[in-house]
């Protein structure tokens, strides 16, 4: 009996130790963020062009005919044919909810990506786009919309050929552009290895050149529609996203964020500085490149569905770090929840703000809202914190 109870305490102790990093402050971030996401989500499903009352909308969200309908989920996640459902359910489930979901996934990706880059560069002011990702993606977006607008691709298929408008490939091309820019940055920074400072400088160089080219291309746009579309892409917008975007972003999100969570300890060791990490036996160059690649993958996935949404990747890791400290096991988990909270809340503003403030039914790009929220928050941080910069 005695030994049994000793075993039991051992097991309890092991469990306690395994979960000790789930501190109270992390729980408050997680629960607070879930509350914001749920509240923001309910607002999003309740209002819109098709008017229904709040109870009707919420009823549609919890419509058991949809929730327990395998065929419906197949349609959502695999893209098969949508089963018949009530109009209200269709609008809530097919138009309004996926937008909330995409916002949450984009928020997660950007927040975690930013957190990783802040560890890799050991700088709190790093964002997912610090290594040229946004400028590469932005340039490709402009090239596709302005220069190659009418180009079609014919891809040989089993029977005959598949004709693709190049603009339908825009999300993929933008993401690939971001990844290519990151590789160029790495190549420029590489000289017997890299250092955080060299990487950031190379990011600035590539960013400057690509942004100039991107701005230059605006002069060749002959149509205001093209310009607006380009601006929506380069500031980040969730207008018109549906389950297809969920299907696009979800697999990459799972891969990138899964890798980020298991890499938390590597990030913690990287925070001790290159020399210490290296003397502890870490292959710093390899780990740094691998972690950057994970972060770029997350950022590129979010670009593919929402364009270049600024500030989320910069401020969310900050907010979370202020609450849970710099332990990346906590920080990454915190970002997984706080990122969606900020993004969903900002998208409420982007989608409904214009109609509340101006009475028009226009929507603005969500990137404008995140910038409007992010700037003042940074001002507040700058005033409050003595020291900013190095983690």
């Amino acid at each position: 009996m005695a030994s049994e109870s000793a075993d039991a305490t051992d097991v309890v102790a092991t469990h306690r130790r395994a979960l000790e990093w789930l501190s109270g402050s992390l729980w408050s971030v997680v629960l607070g963020s879930i509350a914001v996401v749920v509240a923001g989500g309910l607002v999003q499903v309740s209002f819109g062009a098709y008017s229904m009352t709040i109870p009707q909308a919420w009823g549609a969200v919890f419509d058991t005919d949809v929730i327990f309908n395998l065929q419906a989920w197949e349609a959502f996640l695999l893209g098969s044919e949508m089963p018949d459902m009530e109009t209200r359910s269709l609008i809530v489930w097919n138009i309004r909810l996926p937008r909330v979901l995409v916002a949450a996934l984009v928020g997660m990706n950007l927040a975690v990506s930013g957190a990783i880059f802040q560890a890799v560069t050991r700088n709190e002011l790093a964002s997912p786009f610090i290594l040229g990702v946004s400028s590469g993606a932005g340039l490709m977006i402009l090239l596709v919309l302005v220069v190659f607008a009418g180009v079609t691709l014919s891809i040989p298929y089993y029977f005959g050929t598949m004709i693709l408008e190049i603009s339908s490939l825009l999300p993929v091309i933008a993401a690939v552009g971001g990844i290519v820019a990151f590789l160029i940055v790495y190549a420029i920074a590489w000289k017997n290895g890299t250092s955080p400072v060299r990487l950031v400088l190379a990011g600035v160089i590539v960013g400057t050149v690509f942004n100039s080219l991107q701005t230059g291309l605006f002069f060749f746009a002959d149509d205001i529609g093209v310009v607006q579309s380009a601006i929506a892409w380069t500031t980040g917008s969730l207008t018109g996203v549906d389950w297809e975007e969920v299907r696009t972003v979800l697999p990459w999100t799972v891969v990138a964020l899964g890798l980020a969570v298991v890499s938390a300890r590597q990030l913690n060791v990287l925070l001790l500085g290159e020399r210490t990490a290296s003397s502890l036996g870490m292959n710093v160059e390899k780990v740094r490149f691998a972690l950057s690649a994970v972060a770029v993958l997350a950022a590129a996935a979010s670009i593919a569905v929402a364009g270049i949404v600024g500030f989320v990747g910069l401020i969310v890791p900050h907010m979370v770090r202020n609450v849970v400290g710099s332990d990346y096991r906590r920080l990454i988990v915190g970002c997984l929840f706080a990122g969606p909270a900020l993004m969903v809340a900002a998208d409420v503003g982007a989608r409904l703000g214009m109609s509340v403030l101006l009475g028009s039914d226009g929507q603005m790009p969500v990137g404008i809202v995140t910038g409007l929220l992010g700037g003042p928050y940074f001002l507040y941080l700058m005033r409050k914190q003595e020291r900013m910069g190095e983690i």
């Binding site: 913690n268 020399r275 003397s279």
Partner: protein, 320 residues
């Protein structure tokens, strides 16, 4: 420069640390060869004549070490063999190449030529994690996030012992406890590193490198910038390691008295060359202080070894 033979250890000391005269034909090794001790010259580091049972054999041969940004190597063709299980101090003025030599030995700088062997194996060819399980290096300056707790920092010392997915094992926890205990920082365990004084931080970092549980420990100026109390705390840890374990310690020190008191062997570097090596009473001489450190000093015999009383700086008359 003819007197430097006085500073050489005599042949009977077992070739603990030696200079490879044959490869050091470079002119930077000034005043060399005036007193070759033939019996100490070995062809390679594998001549393990003084190896004790468990302590690790650690030696560098014909080392040429420099930085990628500079053309001239800092250390040019020196050989160092460290006494297994004992404490060796590297001393020398600023810029004499002490830290560079240490980094080269620890595989933190790549060698232009030469090899470093740990128990007969080339460390620069070893897997980085495998090396880090055998050889620990504490850098001169260290950074960590302020909100990191002492215990968590020390746990990072277990990095080379853990696989990518491994949680902290009981063995890891024991090593962390031992390291914290040995460094005497148990009372700081739950504190955040950012709240500690410079001296406390250094003890905590030493605990981290102790948790790495290596056979060879390299410490780069662990006492510089510390107050007297913490300097002695650090040196006491080194003393404990010497007396109670088989760990081979190489420590860079600025304070010659300290080196003479705590080290079994000393290596004096001047301008990237080994000027003298051997037991403290042979190395710490008035001539060495004049030639290497540019100081006129009186060396007295104290109970624990030679003691230096600096008098005044010597101004360059001999060098040019």
């Amino acid at each position: 420069m003819t007197e430097d033979t006085n500073a050489r250890p005599d042949g009977g000391l077992g070739g603990l640390i030696e200079r490879d005269d044959s490869s050091g034909a470079d002119s930077t090794a000034d005043g060399e060869d005036s007193g070759p001790d033939g019996d100490r010259t070995t062809e390679n580091g594998e001549t393990a004549d003084t190896e004790s049972a468990a302590a690790s054999e650690f030696a560098g041969e014909d080392l040429v070490i420099g930085y990628p940004t500079a053309d001239e190597p800092v250390v040019d063709g020196e050989s160092v063999r460290v006494a297994p299980g004992e404490v060796t101090a590297l001393v020398g003025p600023n810029g004499s190449g002490k830290s560079t030599l240490l980094k080269g030995l620890a595989d933190q700088l790549s060698l232009s030529a030469g090899t470093v062997r740990l128990d007969g194996r080339d460390v620069h060819a070893m897997d980085t994690k495998e090396l880090a399980r055998k050889l620990g290096l504490l850098s001169q300056e260290n950074v960590s996030p302020d909100s990191l707790t002492v215990e968590k920092l020390v746990e990072h010392g277990r990095y080379p012992h853990r696989g990518f997915f491994d949680p902290l094992s009981d063995e890891d926890r024991d090593a962390v406890d031992r390291a914290i205990d040995l460094a005497g920082v148990d009372h700081l365990r739950g504190r955040e590193v950012g709240q500690l004084s410079g001296g406390q931080k250094q003890l905590v970092w030493i605990a981290m490198v102790l948790a790495q549980d290596t056979d060879v420990l390299l410490l780069d100026e662990p006492t510089t910038f510390l107050d007297l109390h913490h300097q002695l705390e650090v040196m006491e840890i080194v003393e404990t390691l010497r007396d109670e374990s088989d760990i081979t310690v190489v420590v860079v020190l600025h304070d010659i008295d300290q080196a003479a008191r705590y080290a079994d062997h000393m290596v004096a570097l001047e301008d990237g060359s080994i000027y003298a090596s051997g037991p403290p009473e042979k190395v710490v001489t008035e001539d060495l202080l004049a030639d290497v450190f540019g100081v006129e000093a009186i060396v007295e015999d104290a109970a624990w070894g030679p003691q230096v009383r600096p008098q005044r700086p010597l101004h360059d008359t001999a060098s040019e």
